[in-house]
């Protein structure tokens, strides 16, 4: 045992080197994707599948070098990460996200001549991959930098704004845009129908859910039966439930002409609404019940001690305290209803799902995208919006609003 052994040995071995492996993987995958896969494709019209084009064909040598340069810089940054490095990387990722529509503009300029107005520019595999990988990088950087929800939402909104402006100004030949222009009125009507169906079903299930949850609290016996039935309903596949609604409603409409005058029939909004409410009840009732139950008895006791009446205790103490969990139920229900309404298009309820199924029937993929992408956006917006609302309404919101996700 010499004295030297007791001294700390200098630790500069390669084990100490800690690159951000997540970003390394993501950026390498991105580089590989844009160089190896097709970035865009050009098709002469709506149905014929397109001719694929690589990175250099699409945006030229200068563009390709610029994009690869930014990516290599980001790759180098993730080798030796630091707080500043992450901030620079966030700027770089945002820059790439902003450049995406400009790339398409350049590509449409280079690949589509003005004498073929029918030609469409489709986004290729590499384009979609790059978009999703960039979003993953963005999530990772957000977590590393612990950005607040508000700031990151603002940033994403900024990116979306630039995309919107680009889409309006210079992307005439983009397939999705052409598809939208061809059925402009139809699209907005479908969107309205979709949102109306979702809000109506959520509103009804909030009312029904509150009533059922109250009944359950009063009569403990019916709680088990009610949850059993709701569980059972939730298990039945949506397409089966929608189908089974057709028969009884058609019969009802045939029996009572008044109902059919109101627009109730086996096909259309009525069976869809019924099935949507049936599905929404389980998450709604469960969360409402848990929300009302979890309010601590001490708090209620204190309220009683202050001389509050029963109704006052419910509306001024129990309900406000239950609100965040209740909103969580509304969030789950809404997101689920947005997806299920798409299936409801099969029984003629309209909505954005109609584009998906029509597009699949005609093998017109742009039309499928025209239905699927807005549904995805709606679900994400509803999720983020209602989640933010629940954050704000949480009683101790000020204490934890700093780094909540």
């Amino acid at each position: 045992m010499s004295l030297l052994d007791a001294l700390p040995t200098p630790q500069v071995s390669w084990r100490q080197w800690r690159p951000n492996r997540v970003l390394l993987v993501l950026f390498s995958a991105m580089l590989a994707a844009i160089w190896l896969l097709d970035v865009v494709s050009v098709s002469p019209n709506r149905i014929v599948s397109g001719e694929e084009a690589g990175l250099i064909e699409a945006i030229g040598w200068v563009g390709a070098l610029l994009v690869s340069g930014v990516m290599l810089t980001l790759l180098a940054l993730s080798l030796q990460p630091s707080h500043q490095g992450y901030q620079v990387a966030l700027v770089g990722v945002s820059l790439l996200l902003l450049l995406l529509p400009f790339g398409l503009m350049v590509a449409s300029h280079r690949l589509i001549s003005s004498d073929t107005p029918q030609a469409r520019l489709n986004m290729g595999m590499a384009y979609w991959l790059m978009l999703s990988l960039l979003l993953l990088c963005w999530i990772e950087l957000r977590l590393r930098l612990t950005l607040s929800r508000r700031r990151s939402t603002l940033m994403l909104l900024g990116v979306l704004l630039v995309w919107g402006v680009c889409a309006i100004l210079g992307l005439d030949s983009l397939a999705l845009g052409q598809e939208l222009r061809a059925r402009d009125d139809e699209f907005w009507r479908a969107l309205r129908q979709h949102v109306t169906l979702v809000s109506a079903s959520v509103a009804i299930s909030i009312g029904l859910g509150l009533t059922l949850a109250m009944l359950m609290r009063r009569y403990a016996k019916c709680q088990k039966i009610a949850f059993g039935v709701l569980n059972f309903l939730q298990t039945i596949p949506s397409i089966a439930l929608f189908g089974l609604m057709l028969g009884p409603l058609a019969w009802l409409a045939a029996q009572w002409p008044l109902l059919s005058q109101l627009g109730v029939s086996g096909i259309g909004w009525a069976p869809a609404l019924l099935a949507l409410v049936a599905y929404s009840l389980l998450p709604m009732v469960r969360n409402t019940y848990i929300a009302l139950e979890q309010v601590s008895p001490e708090t209620l006791e204190a309220a009683r001690g202050m001389g509050m009446r029963n109704s006052q205790r419910f509306f001024q103490v129990r309900l406000p305290l239950a609100l965040p969990v209740l909103l969580e139920g509304i969030r789950i229900t809404t997101v689920q209803a947005i997806g299920l309404t798409a299936v409801a298009a099969l029984i003629g309820a309209g909505g954005l799902g109609a584009f998906i199924f029509q597009g699949l029937g005609q093998a017109a993929m742009d039309m499928v995208l025209l239905g699927a992408l807005p549904i995805l956006m709606l679900a994400l917006i509803a999720d983020a919006g209602l989640g933010a609302l629940a954050d704000i309404l949480r009683p101790n919101a000020t204490a934890q609003s700093g780094d909540s996700q």
Binding site: M125, L143, F227, S238, A372
Partner: protein, 258 residues
């Protein structure tokens, strides 16, 4: 809050639950073998149609197709999802943990129909794109629940296991996975239930399964077709779900008695 975890604690109780899988399965078999001979009953639903028994394919073969697609997807998702979750909770993959957790919870807001629809332009029509879409979507609840289950294992228990001289592999196999098993199983149940439902919608993109009669019925306005498809698929979902429920029950009683 995870819907699949909360659901269990408030369900029906009692020993009579054990018979449900058998009941649903018996009804399912009755549907599959009974409908082709139930011309009279189906005729009363749709008196004017010239055909009421779905004949393009037998319900039994459609059921097998459906089961095949769902089970292939389930095997891939379970293996992939559990392995991915284990990988990111080990020392080597911990860098990826925050992002994977975030993506798994964010991805569940994607509607399954939209995922299916987006898979078609990329992969084409037929059975394969459906399996891929089901795998992609079904992975999320499993990853999420496995992560939750593994992270909820008490640190003291793990330390005790290491102190007893267990290797990391033994800690995982004999301590972490058994303790997380109920939560993982709940995730698998959610995933499979969603997949049975989503696979039926796959009938619109050219896969042959139990969604076929429903779609054909809606297109031709034939209620009898819809009833055959819808009842069979609902009973399939109920059979599988009640089996999982039974399995969870047994797992829990074994975990708490031993």
């Amino acid at each position: 809050m995870n819907p699949s975890v909360g659901r269990r604690s408030l369900g029906l109780h009692g020993a009579n639950r054990a018979i449900w899988p058998a009941v649903w399965f018996a009804l399912l078999m009755l549907c599959v073998w009974g409908f082709p001979h139930a011309d009279g009953v189906l005729r009363s639903l749709e008196p004017d149609a010239n055909q009421v028994v779905y004949q393009r394919a037998s319900l039994a073969s459609l059921l097998l197709q459906h089961l095949f697609v769902v089970s292939v997807a389930a095997v891939v998702t379970i293996v992939g999802g559990v392995l991915a979750a284990i990988a990111v909770t080990r020392e080597g993959g911990r860098d990826f943990l925050p992002m994977v957790a975030q993506v798994a919870s964010l991805g569940q807001t994607f509607p399954p129909v939209a995922v299916l629809a987006l898979a078609v332009p990329a992969l084409g029509f037929g059975t394969l794109p459906i399996i891929v879409a089901l795998v992609l979507y079904g992975m999320l609840p499993i990853v999420r629940n496995t992560l939750g289950g593994l992270q909820d294992v008490d640190k003291d228990i793990k330390s005790a296991a290491i102190a007893m001289g267990m290797t990391p592999w033994q800690v995982l196999r004999q301590v972490e996975l058994p303790l997380a098993a109920p939560v993982i199983l709940a995730g698998i149940r959610t995933s499979v239930t969603i997949n049975i439902s989503t696979a039926a919608i796959g009938a619109t993109v050219g896969a042959r399964n139990l969604g076929d009669p429903i779609i054909a019925g809606i297109v031709n306005g034939n209620m009898a077709y819809i009833v055959q498809g819808a009842l069979t698929i609902a009973l399939l979902a109920l059979t599988v779900d009640s089996l999982f429920e039974r399995f969870q029950e047994r797992l829990r009683s074994r975990l708490y008695t031993s």
